[in-house]
């Protein structure tokens, strides 16, 4: 049976089509979820895509966090539903307190779009099980407010519990603390990632196909579960 991965569209979501395409290329069924609909339509996992939900006005992700769909999603995530937040989705997850810390304006003060080298640090999440620990991948990164910050205690906790999922290599593009590109919650089912694996799933349009692993991981994990 084909696994059904929900992709949420908030007003101002931009990479929702890309996330849905990545799900399809990986072999899953993408299910469009609407911000105003509190029903998750029995999907097996959810992607919160990149973009500028509500224009990123007030603070990135701060308004989207109160969308009806998020109430249902927060409950489901706390119950173990796999959730991947990419870029703006990561910001929404932090605003929702499903993930600790926050994302602040890039230290360069400029929006940056580049092909970014990452190291996968954890393969115990359902979104990264297809990678190997220490594997280096290149995927697009594009953000204006992608600097990951948290208290030293939280950072130590993330490191200590193996919850740093990916780290920037060669160049820290946004001033993230400890070069952190992605983290997970304690249970591991909720992952936030600032770079965009959904833009690296086809050789023709991406710098690599290295991003596909996030989507094949979740589909394989769900089949085995």
């Amino acid at each position: 049976m084909t696994m059904r991965i929900g992709v949420v569209t908030f007003p101002g979501s931009l990479d929702d089509r890309d996330a849905a395409r990545a799900v399809r290329i990986a072999g899953g069924e993408a299910v469009a979820l609407w911000h105003g609909d509190a029903d998750l339509h029995a999907v097996d996992a959810v992607v919160l895509p990149g973009g500028f939900s509500y224009g990123d006005y007030l603070r990135c992700g701060a308004i989207a966090r109160f969308a009806p769909v998020m109430g249902a999603l927060i409950d489901a995530a706390n119950g173990g539903l796999p959730v991947l937040g990419i870029c703006n989705g990561f910001q929404v997850l932090c605003e929702s307190h499903l993930l600790p810390g926050a994302l602040v304006r890039n230290d360069s003060l400029h929006f940056v779009c580049r092909d970014q080298r990452l190291r996968i640090e954890s393969t115990t999440t359902p979104w990264t099980s297809d990678y190997t620990v220490g594997q280096e991948i290149v995927v697009p990164l594009k953000n204006g407010e992608g600097g990951y910050v948290a208290s030293e205690a939280v950072l130590d906790e993330l490191e200590g519990e193996g919850r740093v999922v990916a780290r920037y290599l060669e160049l820290n593009p946004n001033g993230s603390r400890r070069d952190i590109a992605g983290i997970s919650n304690a249970r591991g089912n909720v992952v936030g990632l600032m770079p965009h694996p959904e833009h690296a799933v086809e050789a023709l349009t991406g710098p690599t196909t290295d991003g596909l692993g996030f989507f094949t991981s979740i589909l394989k994990g769900l089949v085995e579960a």
Binding site: P11, G12, L14, D18, F52, F111, R114, H196, L204
Partner: protein
């Protein structure tokens, strides 16, 4: 506070009232024309409408007589589904798909307020695309600034780039290319042009007309505010003078989030079949939308201006008519479908209000709280504005400029001098890496970007199943156009055409953004007439039609105009984007070949500009037949997977091409200067109709035969070595070598050093 407006009844009762038409930019003869049309003095609201709609920016009053050449000389084509005159032209690309594309200027606002000026330039051109029923899929920005090291360029460029990124990124449109050119002629008049491209199915084309008596006129999108009041006429239609009052309030403020909602909402109402006619609100706002919709439809419209939702309740009716608040659209909807239309707007949280209805009275009537304040024939506002055949004459200085040939300029005479000259060129602002700029733009969103900067052209996949795609390039060398506006325009066309063909796409159609100085200056008007004629002739020779365009006049400060800058955008189609040709040197052992003929042409070249600060002589010869043949070779070679890379030769000459091909993926090459060719000319002359290609060694014969069949000269000039050097020789008895690391360091350092 309610103020009694100047009503039509007042205008009849008080014909003697003095009106400050000259302060509003109208000439005495234009004011007299308005009185003749109406048979009375205009009301202040009517005066506001005529004044913005008859401005240079909206009416094309100085350019119309020349622009008609694009129609008169249109080549035979069955590819044009919608031609000049609509919001944007529509081109058939096959398989039931069509593409609409257009470029517009936002020069003047971007000088006054760089961030918002550039941002709203993107917003405006994108609304042109959606009002044709197309989904916007990419943007590009041809930009020109003053000298790179001038303090004011440091103010303007970062703001413009941040504005383009801030708006375009938030809108979710990939930025796939454009140009960044520095020249002191643009110091007080930077050029910020914006191109957008959209795709649609043939059946989805929508036009701006108000059809069906009794149908409702809906204004939807952002509320109307006090920003951008009279922007088109104030900013784009006069020359800036020092010491005048600040013009900042005339610049609009953009909200890309609202524009994103507007895109999705508009496409949804169009695809649901709920719209009879549609028009974006850009320059001249409600004045333009109501008069154009009415004029193109049944001929009449009744509007209740007090139904327009306002951000600022104190706005006068004249201000509401002129406001250029962004992110607004107007649609004509039947009464039966209005509820469904409003429901979709509500789904997207987009404000929508019925502000009037279509009539067959032949009059555009606008009322304000029950008083009629406008009663005009809409055609006289929208289409029958003044037309000027402005005087033009070859400038007195043109002969001297052309006689100032670059023959006496000192050229490198030793290998060391040539080596160092190339390094200096590679790091010069116009040739240096533009990554500092382009990495502030999202090129990945939507997932269909196949090629983007620094490739020759942007390539976008249109159909994910078949691989059908389009390629786009914009180009213009303003120095060439200054030396010879007629051939300069043809050279701009040739370069964009060549860039598109280099990716493997077949060139199909042309758009343009004609940036010039004041039309009231006969020198400038001569440049304009020559450039338009050159472009029209060139398009006819190449067999690709102009689908639309934009004119920006008054790009001058005092008596000093910018170089004539006819930016040309060429659209091409590629049947399978998987076959696109990139610029990068790839496989070690591939053979490097030069297509075309190198001639000793350096007038107006980047070398003359950078090394000698010289501009004189005649630009490179333009040979459009050679361009056409070269393009045929490049397209056929791409379709047959015969070439592994291709890069057109233009600014900076052949050596710049080789440097860019090597640096793209850090792959070196060894190049041989052909016997009997001067190394300087070989590397730095800017002869046109040339491209460098690479080809697998065992397929060189095929490529040579292909070029021969099309009459294109081809010469084997080297090999991809994969080393970390670009080597060229013999040059004055020696071999030149540049380390790729050194070249990258030099190329990458320039813009960050200037603008970080």
């Amino acid at each position: 506070m309610t103020r009694h407006p100047d009503t039509v009844a007042d205008a009849i009762a008080h014909p003697e009232r003095e009106q400050p038409y000259d302060q509003l930019g109208l000439k005495p003869n234009e004011y007299d024309d308005i009185r003749t049309i109406l048979g009375r003095r205009p009301t202040s609201a009517e005066l506001a409408m005529y004044r913005v709609m008859w401005s240079e920016h909206c009416s094309y009053k100085s350019s119309k007589v020349h622009l008609s050449q694009f129609g008169d000389k249109k080549p035979e084509t069955d590819k044009l589904l919608v031609g000049i005159g609509e919001n944007a032209g529509v081109v058939d690309i096959g398989q039931g798909w069509a593409v609409t594309f257009k470029v517009e200027s936002h020069n003047h606002p971007s000088y006054v307020e760089p961030y918002q000026g550039a941002a709203t330039g993107i917003g405006g051109i994108v609304r042109d695309i959606i009002s044709m029923g197309a989904r916007p899929v990419a943007v590009m920005d041809p930009l020109r600034f003053g000298a790179a090291d001038h303090p004011d360029t440091r103010r303007v460029l970062p703001g413009v780039v941040a504005g383009i990124g801030g708006y375009g990124n938030c809108l979710g449109l990939p930025n796939i290319g454009g140009e960044i050119v520095f020249d002191s002629c643009y110091q007080g008049n930077p050029l910020v042009n914006a191109l957008a491209v959209g795709v649609l199915r043939h059946g989805d084309i929508h036009l701006a007309s108000a059809k069906g008596v009794g149908n409702l006129v809906v204004l939807y999108g952002a509320k109307t505010g006090g920003d951008g009041i009279g922007g088109a006429s104030i900013l784009a239609s006069e020359t800036f003078d020092d010491g005048g009052p600040t013009k900042r309030p005339a610049v609009q403020v953009g909200d890309p989030f609202m524009e994103k909602l507007l895109i999705e909402c508009t496409l949804e109402v169009l695809h649901a079949g709920l719209v009879e006619g549609i028009q974006d609100l850009g320059a001249a706002g409600i004045s333009c939308a109501t008069s154009e919709l009415a004029s193109n439809g049944e001929g009449g419209m009744h509007v209740r201006l007090d139904a327009v939702p306002l951000r600022d309740a104190t706005l006068t009716p004249e201000e509401i008519l002129m406001s250029e608040s962004q992110e607004r659209m107007a649609a004509v909807v039947t009464p039966e479908k209005i509820d469904a239309f409003l429901a979709i707007c509500a789904k997207w949280d987009v404000t929508a209000d019925v502000i009037g209805e279509v009539t067959d009275t032949g009059r555009l009537i606008i009322e304000w709280h029950g008083d009629v304040i406008v009663d005009v024939p809409p055609r006289t506002v929208a289409h029958d504005g003044p037309v000027y055949n402005r005087p033009y004459a070859r400038p007195s200085w043109q002969d001297a400029l052309q006689a100032d040939v670059p023959d006496a300029l000192a050229r490198p005479t030793t290998a060391v001098e040539l080596h160092d000259t190339v390094l200096r060129m590679v790091g010069s602002p116009n040739l240096a890496s533009k990554t500092w700029v382009t990495q502030q733009y999202d090129r990945y969103v939507l997932g269909n970007t196949v090629l983007a900067q620094p490739e020759d052209a942007g390539v976008i996949r249109v159909d994910e199943t078949s691989g059908l795609g389009v390629a786009l390039s914009t180009d213009c060398n303003g120095r060439f156009a200054k030396l010879d506006p007629y051939n300069g325009a043809k050279l701009a066309l040739a370069e964009a055409y060549r860039n598109v063909a280099a990716t493997g796409a077949e060139p199909l159609a042309v758009t343009n953004c004609l940036n010039f100085g004041s039309p009231e200056d006969p020198d400038v008007m001569w440049q304009f007439e020559r450039a338009v004629t050159g472009l029209a002739d060139g398009c006819l020779e190449l067999g690709i039609p102009v689908t639309g365009g934009n004119v920006s006049f008054y790009n001058q400060t005092g008596d000093v105009a910018i170089h004539p800058t006819p930016v040309v955008g060429v659209l091409g189609v590629i049947d399978d984007v998987a076959l696109r040709t990139p610029i990068a040197f790839g496989t070690v052992g591939d053979v490097v070949l030069l297509l075309g003929t190198t001639r000793d042409e350096v007038a107006g070249s980047e070398w003359a500009h950078v090394v000698h600060g010289h501009l004189g002589g005649l630009p490179p010869a333009v040979d459009l037949e050679a361009e056409r043949q070269l393009a045929q070779v490049l397209v056929a070679a791409s379709r047959g997977s015969l070439v592994t890379a291709a890069h057109d030769v233009s600014d900076g000459g052949l050596v710049q091409v080789l440097v860019e091909m090597a640096l793209r993926h850090d792959v070196g090459a060894d190049i041989t200067v052909p016997d009997g060719v001067d190394a300087f000319v070989f590397l730095l002359a800017e002869a046109t109709a040339r491209a460098v290609v690479t080809c697998a060694a065992d397929r060189v014969d095929e490529l040579v035969a292909l070029a021969g069949a099309h009459g294109v000269p081809v010469e084997r000039i080297g090999e991809v070595t994969g080393t970390d050097e670009l080597r060229v020789g013999p040059a004055y008895g020696e071999s030149l070598a540049w380390g790729l690391h050194d070249l990258r360091t030099v190329a990458d350092a320039t813009l960050p050093a200037l603008f970080d």
